[in-house]
C-alpha cells in the first residue's frame, strides 16, 4: 500500500523532474526523464542487522520499447591496499602493494538487459557503469602523458594493474559488496520500473548514491540520482562512537568489565 502511494507521488512529481533534467538531456520528443525513490532512504544497522533489501521504484517519462534502465548503487569511498602474494621459502607472503584511492566500498549494477547490449563502451566507461568500467585509480602508480595529442593516464606497472583491478572486483563480489545483475530491473507498465537493492551483512556505513540511467541507442539520455544513508543505530552506534571518541575510557571500561565477570565467575565457582 505504501509502495503504491509512493509510486503515485512519483508520477505526480514526474513533470517537475522532467523540467529539471531538461538542461542536461538532449531534447528528443519533449525529453525523456526519470523519477525514482527508494522504499527507505535510511538504513539503520542495529544489533540484529543481517543484511537487508530495499526496493527502488521509478518511472521513466517518454520511454520507448527499445530503451533500457540501468541502476548503479555506490557506497562510501575507501582507500585500499592490494597486495599480490608470492611464495618465499614455501610461505605465501604479501608483496608488491598497490594503493588504490576512492574505491566505492559498495557497488552494484542492475539493468534491464546485459550491459554490453545496453550501452556503448564509451558511454559505460564515462559513467563508470559495470564492474568492467568502474574507475579504480591507483594514483601512485600512474602518470599523465600526452599521446597522439590526447592526455591519457598511463600505468607505471603496465598491464599488471588490470590484474589488481580484477582482484578488487573478485574479492568484493565474494563478499557480496560488488554485484552486477542483468535483468535486475523489472519493467512494469507505462514506463514504471522496479529493482531490488540488496545490502549484505557486511554493508559499510556511510552515504550511498543511487544513479538511475535511461539508455537509448547505447547512450544515457536521462539520469536521476537518489541518496541512501546507511548508519549504525541504537546501542551499536553508541558503542562505536564511545570506542572512537573516548577510546581510552572505552578500553578502561572493557578492562573493568573483564575483571567484574572474572570475579563473578570465581565467586560462583567458589560457592560450590
Amino acid at each position: 500500500m505504501r509502495l503504491w502511494l509512493a509510486l503515485l507521488t512519483l508520477l505526480a512529481l514526474a513533470p517537475h523532474a522532467a523540467a529539471q533534467d531538461e538542461a542536461e538531456t538532449p531534447a528528443a520528443d519533449g525529453g525523456p526523464a526519470i523519477v525514482a525513490a527508494l522504499t527507505q532512504e535510511r538504513v539503520d544497522i542495529r544489533s540484529d542487522f543481517a543484511g537487508t533489501q530495499l526496493i527502488l521504484f521509478g518511472a521513466a517519462q517518454g520511454m520507448r520499447e527499445s530503451d533500457d534502465i540501468v541502476i548503479v548503487v555506490r557506497g562510501p569511498q575507501e582507500d585500499l591496499r592490494v597486495m599480490r602474494q608470492s611464495r618465499i621459502l614455501g610461505v605465501w607472503v604479501n608483496m608488491a602493494p598497490v594503493h588504490f584511492e576512492g574505491v566505492p566500498s559498495y557497488y552494484t549494477v542492475a539493468s534491464t538487459r546485459p550491459l554490453s547490449d545496453v550501452g556503448a563502451f564509451s558511454a559505460l566507461r564515462r559513467e563508470g557503469i559495470g564492474l568492467d568500467h568502474l574507475r579504480l585509480d591507483a594514483p601512485d602508480t600512474e602518470h599523465r602523458e600526452v599521446r597522439f595529442g590526447v592526455e591519457v593516464t598511463v600505468s607505471d606497472i603496465g598491464a599488471e594493474i588490470a590484474e589488481y583491478r580484477a582482484a578488487i572486483a573478485r574479492n568484493r563480489r565474494r563478499e557480496e559488496l560488488f554485484a552486477e545483475t542483468y535483468e535486475g530491473v523489472d519493467l512494469l507498465e507505462g514506463g514504471l520500473f522496479r529493482a531490488k537493492v540488496t545490502l549484505p551483512p557486511r554493508t559499510p556505513v556511510g552515504d550511498y548514491t543511487v544513479d538511475v540511467y535511461l539508455f537509448r541507442n547505447g547512450r544515457a539520455v536521462a539520469e536521476r540520482s537518489v541518496t541512501l544513508e546507511v548508519r549504525k543505530a541504537g546501542l551499536e552506534r553508541i558503542i562505536y562512537d564511545f570506542a572512537h571518541q573516548f577510546a581510552w575510557l572505552y578500553g578502561l571500561v572493557c578492562a573493568a568489565l573483564a575483571v567484574l565477570f572474572g570475579w563473578a565467575a570465581a565467586a560462583i565457582f567458589n560457592r560450590r
Binding site: 562510501p76 582507500d79 597486495m83 602474494q85 573478485r170 557486511r202 552515504d207 570475579w263 565467575a265 570465581a266
Partner: protein, 311 residues
C-alpha cells in the same frame, strides 16, 4: 540468531560465538590453559578481522584469568613478588607489542607474522609437551618413579650467576630479578601480537628456567596474564580502536560456562593423558595454521582496507 559487532563491523551468529566460547572455555578449564591460542585462529576463521580478533581476545583472557587468579590468591598459591617482576616485564612487552602490531598492520604483514608466531611457538611447545607426556605415560606403565631432579636443582647454572639477586620467600628461591623480567617482557609482547595469554610459554619457563615450585606456578602466571591482558585491552582500545566489547562479552559468557564444565570433566581424566591430549591439540592447531601459510591461496591477491569514511 545474527548479532552485529559494532567494532568488527560484521554480523555473525550469536550462537556460534557462544558455542565457540563454551568449547574453548571447556578445553581451557580441562587443561588449565587460557585457550587464546585456539580462539584467535577460530575467530579469524569465522571472518573477524585479525586486528579485532587479537585485541578482543586479550579482553576475554583478562576475564578468564581474573577468576583463576582470584581463586589462587585465596588459596595462597600465588607468589606476589615473582608475579610483580613478571608483570613489570610484561607491561613493557605489551607496550612494545602494541607498537609492533600497529607497525606490521600498516605494512600489511600482520597476518603473516601472527601465523608464523603460531607455527613456531605452538610447534615447539606442542612437540616438547608431547614427548614429555608420552615419556611420563611410559614411565607410569613400566612402574618406575619419575626421576627426582633435586640434584639438578642444586647445581649452579648461568642464571644463578646473574646480578641483582633477591629472595622469593613464597617460592623459596634466591634468584636474580633479570630472568623474571625478561620472561615477562617476552610473554607480554606475544600477548599483544598473538592475542594469547602466554601461559603455555610462561609456565614451562617458570618451572624449567626459574625452577619455581609447581604449586605456585599456575597462580603466579595467571596473575601476570591478568594484568598484562588488562593493559593490552586498554592499549589496543586506546591506540588502535580494535576491542569489540560485544564480541568480548559473548566470548566471556560462553567461556565462563565452558570453563566450569571443562574443569569437572578434567578431574575425571589422569594428568598424563590430559597432557598428551593437550599436546595433540596444540600440534593440530599449529599444523592447521602452518598449512594455511604454505597452501596455495584461493586468491593470490589480498585486499586491505585503509579506513573508510565514518559517520
Amino acid at each position: 540468531m545474527q548479532i552485529y559487532l559494532p567494532i568488527a563491523e560484521i554480523s555473525v551468529n550469536l550462537l556460534l560465538l557462544l558455542s565457540l566460547g563454551v568449547g574453548v572455555g571447556f578445553l581451557s578449564g580441562m587443561f588449565g590453559v587460557g585457550g587464546g591460542f585456539l580462539l584467535t585462529p577460530l575467530l579469524i576463521f569465522i571472518g573477524i578481522p585479525p586486528a579485532v580478533a587479537v585485541s578482543t581476545q586479550a579482553n576475554q583472557i583478562a576475564a578468564s584469568s581474573a577468576s583463576g587468579a582470584i581463586a589462587h590468591w585465596r588459596r595462597g598459591t600465588l607468589d606476589m613478588k615473582m608475579g610483580a617482576l613478571l608483570l613489570v616485564g610484561g607491561m613493557a612487552g605489551a607496550f612494545a607489542g602494541v607498537q609492533i602490531f600497529g607497525y606490521l598492520q600498516a605494512l600489511g604483514q600482520i597476518d603473516l607474522i601472527i601465523s608464523l608466531c603460531y607455527v613456531g611457538f605452538l610447534g615447539t611447545i606442542g612437540t616438547l609437551m608431547l614427548i614429555e607426556s608420552i615419556n611420563a605415560l611410559v614411565r607410569r606403565y613400566r612402574g618406575t618413579k619419575s626421576s627426582s631432579n633435586s640434584a639438578a636443582r642444586r647445581k649452579r647454572r648461568w642464571i644463578d650467576r646473574l646480578p641483582f639477586k633477591t629472595r622469593f620467600p613464597k617460592s623459596g628461591l634466591y634468584l636474580s630479578v633479570i630472568p623474571p623480567v625478561v620472561i615477562g617482557t617476552f610473554v607480554g609482547t606475544l600477548t599483544a601480537i598473538m592475542g594469547v595469554g602466554g601461559g603455555f610459554i610462561m609456565v614451562p619457563a617458570m618451572i624449567y628456567v626459574l625452577r619455581m615450585p609447581t604449586n605456585v606456578v599456575i597462580g603466579t602466571s595467571l596473575f601476570q596474564i591478568l594484568f598484562v591482558t588488562l593493559l593490552t585491552t586498554v592499549l589496543q582500545a586506546g591506540q588502535n580502536q580494535t576491542v569489540d566489547i560485544v564480541l568480548a562479552l559473548a566470548l566471556i559468557v560462553g567461556g565462563v560456562v565452558g570453563a566450569q564444565l571443562g574443569a569437572r570433566a578434567g578431574r575425571k581424566i589422569r594428568a598424563e593423558e590430559l597432557r598428551v591430549a593437550l599436546a595433540v591439540l596444540v600440534i593440530a592447531v599449529c599444523l592447521k595454521v602452518g598449512w594455511d601459510l604454505v597452501a596455495t591461496p584461493e586468491d593470490l591477491f589480498n585486499i586491505i582496507s585503509l579506513g573508510r569514511p565514518q559517520i
